[in-house]
Each structure stands twice: as structure tokens, then as C-alpha cells.
Amino acid sequence: MSTTTSPAPAAAAHETPAPPRSNQIMREILGGSAAISVLAVVLALIAGGILIILTDERVAETSGYFFSRPGDTLGAAWQAVSGAYSALFRGSVFNYATDRGFAIAIRPLLETLTFATPLIAAGLGVALAFRVGLFNIGGRGQMLIAAAAAGYVGAYIPMPPVLHLVVALVVGIIGGALWGGIVGLLKARTGAHEVIVTIMLNYIAFYLVSFLLRTPGALQAPGQNNPKSGPMLESAVYPSLLGPQYSLDLGFILVIVATIYVWYLLNRSAMGFQFRAVGENPHAAQVAGINVKSVYVKVMLIAGALVGLAGVQQVLGNFTGGFAAGLDAGIGFDAITVALLGRSKPWGVFFAGILFGALKAGSFTMQSSEGIPVDIVLVVQSFIVLFIAAPPLVRAIFRLPTPDSTFQWRKPAIDRKAEVSK
């Protein structure tokens, strides 16, 4: 790391302290091409297919006489994979097998959007922190606290219809924001690494909410022994968007608004400029007069609020009958993969969320019709991220050309002019 600062402006451009590693990673993830993303998804689906073939019973049976009749094995393998992925399609986009009309056939697509809603919200929270060079692994904790706060208001404090929903939503978002803000504050004040703090806060939130859920008078449903909250009051539940036959609710609109907000924040606002500057290089941002510590606190507050929106979605939209401590359903971690696949850009996260929502929605059809455990989604998802995170690996597999290493696209313009004039 270069530490000297020369007064000459041209030299200074070269010798400012290099940004921390996480900031460079952020830049690499942003800079990757869309082709890599698509190829990563394809590779992950192939890997998932291999896993399906390896564990398929018919394939195992026919492979016993593979060398006498290889066609049987290959046929069985093809059936296993095509059966699985067509079930995935039927469960997530369009159920072409039904004969009950278009309204029923299109239901899986709306199901996908419903699954995508909390993923997008939480993904935005993770992505925003990424843009500042922070890893927000605390999605689970932020969701739980937000859900507990919103759930308490939604289930136990009666209010007039519209007001109730708004208050529950706001309280939940504040809960998530505060839980995220702790991380920003500790990072800014003491330099505590946000990865460790967020992981630890996840567990603290989990035990805290578990405690509240089994304490009568806190979150536990009155007269119940289970660690579960009471059902949400009718006035606090997200209204359905397309009628009761579809599960899509107001939450999806809120998520679209959130995406637009994050886009505006990052690309059109002064605060977003500061965020991106700190994300590019906190040392340079500091020199330019940006208060880096306050940016850390602010971004974690907003990130926590966005993840909190996902938590609120779970209690006021998806589990309105009362929630338990497992309400986050792994979304806090899925959000990391969503943010990575979306390259931490708001609309990228939006579509990545829909893709993972489709995987989730389809996995249940895959399990019911093909007997493939839903856990396959975790495998496919983690493969996608591994491939996305390692562009050189994908390039090596598909023999894509390496971007020319001699081309320095970040070289200051002033240097290039100097070279030309030579």
C-alpha cells in the first residue's frame, strides 16, 4: 500500500492509498458483464441437474447394466432432469398442464412474484450496504426484529384500518433500521468488523424474538403454549392486489417503490453520491470531505430499513395467521445471493429477486410432483453465486476471452493525454 502523498496532481492520482479489498470486490462485482450472470445461472442449473441424476433411483437401477444398454441410463437421466426442470417451470411461471383456464395457469407466476417480494426487499438492503463496501450478513436479525415490531403492532394494538397498516409498517421498518444501525454505529465508532457483528446480531435477534414469542404479554398469543404470535388483525394485513385467488399483495408495490427509491438514492441524490464515493475508496472520500463514519451509520440504517421491509412482508403479508421465530425462512441469507446476482444495482436486484423467487416457488412443485427435495434450490443458488463471484472460472469453463489486462480503463485521462503528446 502506498502511503506517501506527492503534491503533483498527476502523481497523486497514482499514489492515493488503495481502497480496502471489500471495495475492490464491490467494483469487480459491479463491473462483471451480464453474459457472466446468464452463464452462471446456466452452469448452476447444470450442476443441479447432475445432482438430480446422481440421486435418481431409476438412473441408479439402469446404470447397473449401463454397458449393455447405455440408452436406458441416459434416457432415465434425461427423464429425471427434464421432469425436474419442467416441474420447476410449471411451478414458477406457467402451469401448462392445467386445463382450468388461463387464470389458474398463470397463478404460478404470481406465486413467484410473491416469493420474490421479501427477497427483493432484503436484497436491496444487502446491495445498498455492498455499494458502500459493507457486507450486511445481518439480514436475518434485521428481519426478525422488524417482524417482531410490526407483528406486535399488527396483532395486539387495534387501530382504524388504513392507519393500522401504516403504523405497523413504519414501526417494523424502524425496528429493522435500528438493528442495522447498531452495526453501522459499531463500525464507525469502534471499527468492529461488520461481518462479525452482523452474524452475532443475527443470533441475538433470534434468541430475543424467541424469548418474546414464548413470553405471555409480549408476543405470545394469549392462552397459547406454543412460541407463536397471535394472528394479525384484519386492519393490519396487506390488501391483496389481484383478488383472493392470487397471493400477490400490496408488498409487491412497496418493493417496486423501494427499488425506485434505492435507484434514486444511489444515482440521483447527494447522499447516494457520498455512498458511492465511500464505496469506491473510503480514503479518497475522506480526503474529499465526506464524513465516512456518518456514511457507515446512515447506510446501515437504510439497509436495515430495507431488510426490515422484508420482515414486515413476512408477518403482514405471508404469515398473517401468526409467526414463529423461523419466519425469516432463510431470506436474510438468500438476500446476499440476490444482491450478488443483481450486481448490487437496484434493478439488477429486482430481477435477481424474481429469479430466486421463481426457484423457490418452483421447488415446491418439484418436490410434490418429482420427489426432489426443496433443498436443491439452496444448492443451485449457492452455485450461481460461486460462479458469479468468480468470473475467471466461468470464462475458463466457456473459454471466453479474458478482458485485455493491458487495457487500463481506470487510468486518469490526464495521463493518457500526456502519453499522446509524447
Binding site: I25, T190, V197, Y203, F211, T215, V379, S382
Partner: protein
């Protein structure tokens, strides 16, 4: 940094400023004061109004089968809490005086303080009941064993410069492979070996992505945890559940009592009536400590983690050192994962490690990247977890969730720098690019 001396040079002439030599650290006395306050509140404000008179807590120090029987220890609630509180106040005052004289609070004082707090707390929480000390401590060791393996692997990995968030995945992979191979071969030792290979395999992915493809280590670690969880859950549902007999009923390791040593009162039954995995753990703790600090291997490993460029300059192959040691770390953690299926439970279950890897990670940090301290931290966390289950049996006034939360709170306090200095190896998490 050139900026640092410039700004601190004038400040260092001011006595007591951060730049001067006599550093007064108020963190320890403040921490003492907080715990003393907690103790006073618990013992005298909350109290045990639910118990009549002055209940006694009985500490049972031997089990019926022990060779040497010790009489149980009986502590009255009132006397114990008063004595403990007075001593804790004294220790706090002492710590403040030491801090004012700019003397670092010695470790023994902290240890005595912690033991005092614990005795007072236990006597208060279990008032009127019997605490089986052997069971409590032996159980704590059982809970701690995978944590210790995990933290040893974490220490090696981080000391060589690769952040290991994937401890959880390595433990889970180890547990799965141990159950699978242990059942298929009918030999737990093969299962243990398989667990080590599985842990090393997870490490291999981590090392390949982090060292070869320069992917961020935290991302790979997080994703690996999800991947291993997904893979083991998938294979558990498709392979193990339909054929539990052939794939998921491994023979467990037998407990072996070491002659003589196992007859030592209190300690013997806890430490020396254990399975092979625990004895291997003792060996591993010693070897990791000795290797890291007394051998050439350890010196090289640490230098690669602290200053890879310097290590490279003197001819150490940074990438190879990192690669092989991360693999070694994974093998150690994987061996710890075998403890779940071959010693503790006896079969694999979905997500059976249940966050143990993250507690081990916490222990690495709380133990300041030192194998002995990390082991002690693991023991502390294991003790807290097991204390919670023991207390829930005798009926404790503290909600179990808060006991379970303890390791995580303690870790946040540690990384926030309230307790001692928590400094990671300088190059941990940074890939090395040869210039």
C-alpha cells in the same frame, strides 16, 4: 501511514494521551463495575423471593461410580451472595486503583473475578436445588468439543491469511460424511477420516476461490455454508432417509476411561472418560499451539498471514502456504464435525450443527486468534450453553434465551474493543497478488 505520526506527535507530549507510553485503560474496571452491578441487582434486588427462608445450593462433586467420593458442597444463598458481592466490589476497586496507576489489570484478577461471579450466579440461580457439577462440566466439554475443533481450524486459517466463515459448513460436511462412511464401513475411524476429508474438501473450494480466483473470502465462506447445508440436506432427504440402516446409523465411538487419570476427583470423570475424538482434541490443541509458536511451519504460517510480501521476499511460497494450511484447517474442523454423528448423537440430521460453526468463529475472535485462548473461549461458550440446559432442569429465574445469547453478546463486546485488544492477523482476508 505518514499521516499518523504527524497528528499524534504533538498530542504525545500531553500526559495520558493515546500517544504516550503510560496508557490508562479504564475498560477492565468499567467491565468489572458493570458485572458487579449486575450481580448486586440479581442477588439483592431481584433476589429469590420465590424460595422460602435461606435456601442452600448443593454442588454434587462426585458421581456414585467414582472411586474417590467427595462430600457435596453446600452453599447458603445469603452468605454466599454477600461474600461474593463484597469480594467483587473489592476486585472492582482494586481494578480502578490499578488503572489509575496505569497498571494493566492482571489476568489472574480477571479470572478470580469471573469465578466469583460464576459461583455467586450459580448459587443464586440454582438456589434450593442440587447442581451435578460433574454432569454440568462434562456436558460443557461435550458441547465445546466441536467448537474447539472449529476454532482451532479457524485460528490456523485466519493466521495464514484466509478468513474462514465456512467453519459451519465444514462441521456440517464432516458430520454428514462421518455418518455416511461410518455406516457404510461399520468403522467409526473410517468415518472420522471421511469427516476430515469432507472438511478439507470444503476448505479446498474456499482456498481455490479465495487464492486462485481471488474471490472475496467472506462471500465464498457465506456461500459455502449455504452450499453445504443444501447439499447435505438434499442428500439426507434423497439418500439417507429412505435407507437409514445402510447410510445413517454409524457405530458410535466408545467412551474409554484412562486408568488412574480417570480416578482423579472431579476432573478425572470429566476429562478422562471420553471418546477418542476428545482425546484427539487434547492432542490437536497442543499440536496447533506448539506448531504455531514453536516450529518453522508456524513461523512461516504466521508471517504469511501478517505480512505476505515480506514472507515472499524471504522465499516463502505465499499461495502454496495458504492453500495447504487452509486445507489442514478444514480437515481439523471436519474431524470436529464427526463428533456430532459419531459421539454425541449417533446419526445425521438436517442442519444438525445449528450454528456451532458461528460460535466457533466467535471463539476465534474472542480468543484473539490464539489456539489456547480460542479453546478457553470455546469452553466458556460451551459452558454457557450447557449451564442453560442444566439450569432449565433445576428451574432457573433467568430465561434460557439470554444464556444462549451470551457467546454472541460477548463476541460483539470483544470486537468492539471493550475487552482487551482484538486484532486480527494483518493480512487476514486479503488475497496476495505477486507484484
Amino acid at each position: 501511514m505518514t499521516a499518523a505520526p504527524v497528528t499524534t506527535a504533538p498530542a504525545s507530549t500531553v500526559p495520558g494521551a493515546p500517544g504516550s507510553i503510560a496508557v490508562k485503560s479504564w475498560k477492565a474496571p468499567i467491565a468489572f463495575a458493570i458485572f458487579t452491578l449486575i450481580a448486586i441487582v440479581l442477588f439483592f434486588v431481584v433476589g429469590r423471593g420465590d424460595k422460602e427462608g435461606n435456601p442452600t445450593t448443593i454442588y454434587r462433586l462426585s458421581e456414585p461410580r467414582d472411586a474417590i467420593q467427595l462430600p457435596p458442597l453446600e452453599l447458603g444463598l445469603a452468605e454466599t451472595t454477600i461474600v461474593v458481592t463484597i469480594l467483587m466490589v473489592a476486585a472492582t476497586v482494586g481494578a480502578f486503583l490499578l488503572a489509575r496507576a496505569a497498571i494493566k489489570v492482571p489476568l489472574w484478577l480477571t479470572t478470580i473475578f469471573a469465578v466469583l461471579f460464576l459461583v455467586g450466579f450459580l448459587t443464586w440461580a440454582a438456589a434450593g436445588a442440587t447442581v451435578p457439577m460433574i454432569g454440568l462440566l462434562a456436558g460443557a466439554l461435550t458441547v465445546s468439543t466441536p467448537l474447539i475443533f472449529g476454532s482451532l481450524g479457524g485460528v490456523i486459517s485466519e493466521r495464514v491469511g484466509v478468513v474462514n466463515i465456512a467453519i459451519e459448513g465444514q462441521l456440517l460436511g464432516g458430520a454428514f460424511m462421518a455418518a455416511m462412511l461410518g455406516t457404510l464401513t461399520g468403522n467409526p475411524f473410517v468415518g472420522l477420516l471421511g469427516a476430515m476429508v469432507a472438511g478439507a474438501a470444503v476448505s479446498f473450494v474456499l482456498a481455490a476461490f479465495a487464492i486462485k480466483y481471488l474471490v472475496d473470502q467472506v462471500i465464498v465462506g457465506v456461500v459455502l455454508n449455504v452450499l453445504v447445508l443444501g447439499l447435505t440436506s438434499f442428500l439426507y432427504s434423497t439418500v439417507m432417509v429412505p435407507n437409514a440402516e445402510t447410510f445413517n446409523s454409524p457405530e458410535k465411538f466408545e467412551r474409554i476411561a484412562i486408568p488412574l487419570l480417570s480416578d482423579i476427583p472431579v476432573l478425572g470423570p470429566i476429562l478422562f472418560r471420553q471418546t477418542v475424538i476428545v482425546y484427539l482434541m487434547y492432542l490437536a490443541i497442543f499440536l496447533v499451539w506448539f506448531g504455531l509458536f514453536k516450529t518453522r511451519w508456524g513461523l512461516r504460517l504466521r508471517s504469511v498471514g501478517e505480512h505476505p510480501t515480506a514472507a515472499d521476499t524471504v522465499g516463502i511460497n505465499v499461495r502454496a502456504t495458504r492453500f495447504w494450511n487452509v486445507l489442514l484447517a478444514g480437515a481439523i474442523v471436519g474431524g470436529g464435525g464427526a463428533f456430532f454423528t459419531l459421539a454425541a448423537v449417533g446419526s445425521f440430521g438436517k442442519d444438525m450443527t445449528n450454528g456451532a460453526g458461528f460460535i466457533a468463529l466467535a471463539a476465534v475472535i474472542f480468543g484473539r486468534w490464539d489456539p489456547i485462548r480460542a479453546t478457553l473461549a470455546s469452553l466458556l461458550f460451551g459452558f454457557a450453553t450447557n449451564l442453560q440446559s442444566t439450569l432449565s432442569i433445576v428451574g432457573s429465574p433467568v430465561p434460557s434465551e439470554f444464556m444462549l445469547m451470551l457467546p454472541y453478546v460477548v463476541t460483539i463486546v470483544a470486537v468492539a474493543g471493550f475487552v482487551g485488544l482484538s486484532r486480527a492477523p494483518a493480512a487476514s482476508g486479503k488475497p496476495y497478488l505477486k507484484a
